[in-house]
């Protein structure tokens, strides 16, 4: 049976490769860097960037913390090796612990967020040295659910995956021949031992995608979704997450005082030229 989320992966790849080339060229760049977690999203972003700019023009950056799962780095290296992309390893343990110890940050979400933001600091610093732009790895499913760290993994210059649900990222990964070890393992932010995205969210990406597509892309109402067989509590749980996390998907709000305010009535694309 056909799945309404299915994409044509070859054509999608062609669009995304051109997107990367043209949007970076528009900003005056032809080199890129990708933070590699060892997971499927960053593997797909890296593969697209390697096709867009050539493997030598792309840097894969691994940023392990001392408690990170060693498989994460091994998988990141495997992906980069298969794509012939150079890598850089920056251990973030000292910089993270320097802050965590000084401020006695308790374990859990706060520590995870600090790690994600330290990785952002590293990537943006290396982007200067590499003279390239940071390519995003956030997909539409996690962006809608708000499953990201604001100004952490959500910080990047351009994002080829932001309009692809997780299901579609899997399709793209198979088309791009990402190693099966990476494609088949349970998605994890690897911020603490044994963490998986789906445990933390309380539902699977496949379940989320099945609901998100009619809810967001087709704009079905709650009653229509219940009529299609979705559980009302699940619909409300997901809808609540989407609304609650809107702030992560937009720039900070600005108090309007003048007659012409940035992003309100001062309206230009980022690709603005004159």
């Amino acid at each position: 049976m056909s799945n309404p989320l299915d994409i044509d992966p070859a054509f999608t790849t062609e669009v995304l490769v051109r997107f990367l080339r043209e949007e970076l060229a528009s900003a005056g760049f032809s080199r890129a860097l990708v933070g590699l977690s060892g997971g499927i999203d960053s593997a797909v972003s890296l593969a697209l960037a390697a096709r867009a700019f050539g493997p030598d023009e792309v840097l894969g950056v691994m940023m392990p913390y001392r408690t990170s799962n060693p498989d994460s780095e091994a998988h990141a290296r495997l992906v980069a090796r298969e794509l012939h992309v150079p890598t850089r390893r920056v251990d973030i343990s000292a910089m993270v612990d320097g802050y965590l110890d000084q401020e006695s940050v308790p374990s859990g979400m706060r520590r995870g967020n600090v790690m994600a933001r330290m990785r952002m600091v590293v990537l943006y610093d290396l982007s200067e040295e590499w003279r390239g732009l940071v390519i995003g790895t956030s997909n539409k499913t996690e962006m809608l659910l708000g499953y990201s760290t604001l100004w952490g993994d959500s910080a990047h210059a351009v994002n080829p995956l932001g309009d692809l649900y997780k299901h579609q990222v899997y399709q793209l990964a198979r088309h791009l021949e990402i190693p099966t070890e990476v494609v088949d393992k349970p998605p994890s932010a690897d911020l603490f031992e044994g963490q998986t995205d789906e445990d933390e969210l309380g539902f699977s990406y496949a379940e989320a995608d099945r609901l998100l597509y009619p809810m967001i892309d087709e704009r079905h109402t709650e009653d229509e979704l219940v009529g299609s067989g979705f559980d009302r509590d699940f619909i409300r749980l997901v809808a609540g997450r989407i609304v609650r996390n809107q702030y992560k998907r937009v720039m900070p709000v600005i108090a309007k005082l003048s007659h012409r305010t940035i992003n309100q009535d001062f309206r230009y694309l980022r690709d603005w030229k004159s």
């Binding site: 994409i7 070859a10 054509f11 062609e14 669009v15 051109r18 997107f19 043209e22 009535d265 603005w272």
Partner: protein, 295 residues
């Protein structure tokens, strides 16, 4: 009407008129050297599409000195291109301009501005107010800008005017990357082909479509520029995502053959339409049978 048409599928640089103008001149010169009589560019080909506040910065009068080189070149080849047009009363229009023999022969100002979903044209442009047919030395042309073709009114007026060809200029964003039977490209491109083909069949005229390519803030323009014959069949098309040019022939003989085979223009009943529109406003069809005088 017997002419050689060049359709230019360009990738305008957002906001860079001098660079885009250079590209227009280069392509029009090359088309002329190749024997073209007319060259058709996409919507807002001189400025780029998502202009927002740049409309005010970039809009020009039709007699702007920047357009002089294009006007000069139009002595060798007629040129249809898109620009943000400034009007003396302060309005700006999304315009398609027809240059011929060193003059502005005509201008079509987009009538159906698109302001839903990802579009917000009505915020920056004023809508055009007429469907004028261009009487060129090459033939009779109906000009359309993208959304204009989705409304039947403009097509119908041009059908009544017996145009030889509809020249359609677009900046159509690609949407939908689902798998399609046997073809590769955005799903929205298939929708466009259906629409263009139907327009050719209804009007029994050629339909030429120039749609741009490239990206603006992540939005891909879908290309696929094409020519449809007066039988509605797709004659030739460009690959979706690349810049390129199509060179095609349009002939009176073919138009006449198509119109003889299917005499829709002969059999049209515009007086019924006029009566319905005259008496019933927006719900005209309900009153088609009523005994009311034609307005």
């Amino acid at each position: 009407m017997d002419l050689r048409l060049s359709i230019a599928q360009t990738n305008p640089v957002l906001g860079d008129i001098s660079k885009n103008l250079e590209e227009h001149l280069r392509l029009a010169r090359a088309a002329a050297a190749d024997g073209a009589d007319l060259v058709l560019f996409p919507e807002l080909s001189l400025t780029g599409y998502f202009l927002r506040d740049q409309v005010f910065d970039l809009a020009m009068y039709l007699d702007a000195p920047e357009l002089k080189p294009l006007l000069e070149l139009s002595k060798a080849v007629s040129i249809v291109f898109g620009m943000a047009e400034r009007h003396p009363d302060g309005r700006c229009f999304n315009s398609l301009v027809f240059l011929e023999d060193g003059e502005v022969l005509g201008v079509h100002r987009k009538v159906h501005l698109v302001s839903y979903g990802m579009f917000d044209e009505s915020r920056d442009f004023a809508p055009g107010e007429e469907w004028n047919t261009i009487e060129s030395r090459l033939g009779r042309f109906g000009l359309f800008l993208c959304e204009d073709l989705w409304h039947l009114g403009g097509q119908y007026v041009r059908i009544l005017d017996r145009v030889d060809a509809l020249l359609v200029a677009s900046a159509g964003p690609g949407r939908g990357v689902g798998p399609q039977d046997g073809v590769q490209g955005f799903e929205s491109l298939g929708t466009w082909r259906t629409l263009l083909s139907a327009a050719a069949m209804h009007s029994l005229s050629y339909v030429a479509w120039a749609n741009r390519v490239g990206f603006e803030d992540g939005v891909a323009f879908s290309g696929g520029s094409a020519l449809f014959g007066p039988d509605g069949r797709l004659r030739t098309t460009l690959d979706g995502l690349e810049e390129g040019e199509l060179s095609v022939s349009l002939t009176s003989a073919e138009l006449h053959r198509a119109r003889q085979r299917t005499p829709l223009l002969r059999d049209g009943r515009p007086e019924l339409v006029r009566r319905a529109l005259g008496c019933a406003g927006s719900t005209g069809s309900a009153d088609l049978g009523a005994d009311t005088p034609a307005s």
